[in-house]
């Protein structure tokens, strides 16, 4: 059976959920061979094996942390040459897309980004995408070279499928261009203890209606009662009420949770672009005419300062 390369997103050996989704999708096309790079790469093997990786190619070198993107492209290319895969799958993070883009140029292959589903087709993998702020669904294929496809988080439910997961060291020869962009300092983000925005099953977002950083704890309390991640509209981010890393929308994160709750958000096209594929959408807004209500499964026209705390209390009491 054909092999499919899966680029592993991990933090010091802890595999992030989108990678498990990729392994699940990869199995529809062939046998997943995972590529894990950097500190902790070897520690990823057990989890990757559990989700179907037949092989785990690992490499660690200071270059991966010290220089931007290119060392990872060098490594993925080395894996590509070692395996001759039927497709290369990469998580659709900002960095993942850049790695995939450069690999595609190097190996002369077409690239599809932000797939939300993947199926095997007679002429190679078929990628489903959601475009124009999710108003269209398209099916695309790569017609030249080995398909390079980036896949959005929450595109599939990870399914365990134990496989060998044999660890093999990957030999990577870094080129002269590898060290072009130096990472001179890195400030890790502080963990909030909440689920990762793009991976969360439930997202609670606040917008301009939250009316100040001092009121965001209301949104956080609702999120915590539901075990959710916290998002924000650009208006709330631009006002400095919440960090940009939490922005949902075209220029923020694209989320596709089971449940999306928008409080004090009008539902501008650029916001919709990042949340419209959510399974269930709920909104709280005091303006009955707000466009967000066109999307909702359930909407409450009302003041979020009344509705949100009542909802939080009710969730807590129901959960006992």
């Amino acid at each position: 059976m054909a092999e499919v390369l899966v680029y592993v997103d991990h933090v010091d050996g802890a595999v992030r959920k989108p990678t498990l989704e990729l392994l699940t999708l990869a199995r529809r096309i062939g046998e997943p061979v995972a590529v894990a790079l950097g500190a902790g790469a070897d520690a990823t093997a057990a989890t990757l094996a559990e989700y179907g990786a037949v092989k785990v190619l690992t490499a660690d070198a200071p270059e991966f942390a010290d220089y931007l993107v290119v060392p990872k492209v060098d490594a993925l290319q080395a894996a590509y040459e070692a395996v001759s895969p039927a497709a290369v799958l990469v998580p659709s993070s900002a960095e993942g897309k850049e790695i995939a883009a450069r690999l595609a140029v190097r190996i002369g292959s077409g690239i599809i980004t932000d797939a939300v589903d993947l199926e095997a087709g007679a002429e190679g993998p078929v990628a489903v995408q959601s475009v124009f702020a999710a108003s269209y669904t398209t099916k695309s294929r790569v017609t030249k070279g080995t398909p390079v496809i980036t896949v959005k988080p929450n595109s599939a439910a990870p399914e365990a499928a134990p496989a060998a997961g044999t660890v093999e060291p990957l030999a990577v020869a870094f080129g002269e261009k590898t060290t072009g962009t130096k990472v001179v300092a890195r400030t890790p983000r502080e963990s909030t203890g909440r689920p990762e925005l793009t991976e969360a099953a439930i997202v609670v977002s606040g917008g301009r209606g939250v009316n100040g950083a001092e009121n965001f704890p209301l949104i956080e309390a609702l999120a915590d009662s539901l075990g959710a991640a916290v998002g924000a509209s650009r208006a709330a981010v631009d006002a400095g009420w919440y960090p940009h890393t939490n922005q949902v929308g075209q220029t923020g994160k694209s989320v596709s949770p089971q449940l999306y709750i928008a409080a004090g958000i009008s539902g501008a096209i650029q916001h919709r672009a990042g949340m419209q594929t959510s399974k269930t959408i709920v909104a709280i807004n005091k303006d009955a005419e707000a466009p967000i209500f066109e999307l909702v499964d359930y909407g409450v026209v009302g003041d979020l300062f009344e509705v949100v705390p009542q909802l939080t209390d009710e969730v807590k009491s129901r959960k006992g």
Binding site: E95, G110, A134, S135, Y136, K139, T245
Partner: protein
């Protein structure tokens, strides 16, 4: 020596309009109003700021697109760019990311550059891949997704705010940069700027000027194909209630019914 900055800008269908596909499943660019991609305005703005800091700089704005794409160039010129290059050729219709990056790379080389500045993504296709592809093709450092950027002593530095960390980056020129919408609001063209833009040179190039074969680009030369595009069914109208004091509880009831609680 003067600092040569090339800003890549795209002419895109208005996102607040009714965007759709043409019969050949390419983005319909005829029936929809277009404009300079808002995300590329940030790139023009950073180019202007860098040039204001430099002793001597020249900003060329570059676009690949249909006739109307001149509007995008005109807007960038009225913001303050010095000159423009428009790559226009009927054979470019349907070109995908790989093809676009090829044409952009050739055009950037044709213009001559020390620094290429791109937006973070185009607001229509929105792949966010071209800056990385361009750097790969040009063989120069990629310093991308910057929310802060500066050029000094032949070096470009900037801050990249990623998911896991915020990184301070540094590379020698020549380089390809992309900037995010966190990099600072773009200026509005002044009346004077709009008038001045009318006299600024716009060079038109076609594929043969760049030494590119028609079969390397366009719909037929594309590395990918769209087989199907279906309009997403409108979401079925949901339940909307007015809060009369019990809104939060009613919402909880709904969430419980959906097994979220």
């Amino acid at each position: 020596m003067s600092l040569r900055i090339v800003v890549c800008v795209k002419y895109v269908p208005d996102a607040t309009g009714d965007r759709h596909f043409a019969e050949d499943l390419t983005v319909d660019r005829d029936d929809v109003d277009g404009l300079l991609s808002e995300l590329d305005e940030y790139a023009v703005e950073q180019a202007l700021q860098i040039s204001e800091e430099a002793d001597d700089a020249e900003i060329t704005v570059l676009t690949i697109g249909p006739e109307d794409a001149k509007d995008a160039l005109r807007k960038a010129l009225s913001m303050g760019a010095d000159k423009a290059v428009h790559v226009e050729d009927d054979d470019l219709h349907g070109t995908d990311a790989l093809g676009t990056s090829l044409v952009l790379a050739k055009a950037v080389e044709h213009v001559g550059y020390d620094l290429v500045i791109c937006g973070m993504a185009s607001t229509d296709g929105g792949m966010g891949v071209l800056p990385a592809m361009l750097a790969e093709r040009l063989g120069v450092p990629q310093v991308t997704l910057l929310s802060e950027v500066a050029v000094e002593d032949g070096k470009v530095t900037g801050r990249r705010d990623g998911d896991a960390a915020s990184e301070q980056l540094e590379a020698s020129l020549p380089a390809v940069v992309s900037v995010t919408d966190q990099s600072g609001e773009a200026r509005y063209p002044s009346f004077k700027g709009i008038m001045a833009a009318k006299k600024k040179p716009v060079e038109s190039l076609d594929l043969s000027d760049l030494g590119i074969d028609a079969d390397e680009v366009g719909l037929d030369g594309a590395w990918t194909t769209v087989d199907e595009a279906t309009e997403r069914p409108a979401r079925t109208a949901g339940t909307i209630v007015k809060d009369e004091g019990e809104g939060g509880k009613q919402l909880a009831e709904f969430l419980a019914g959906q097994k979220f609680i």
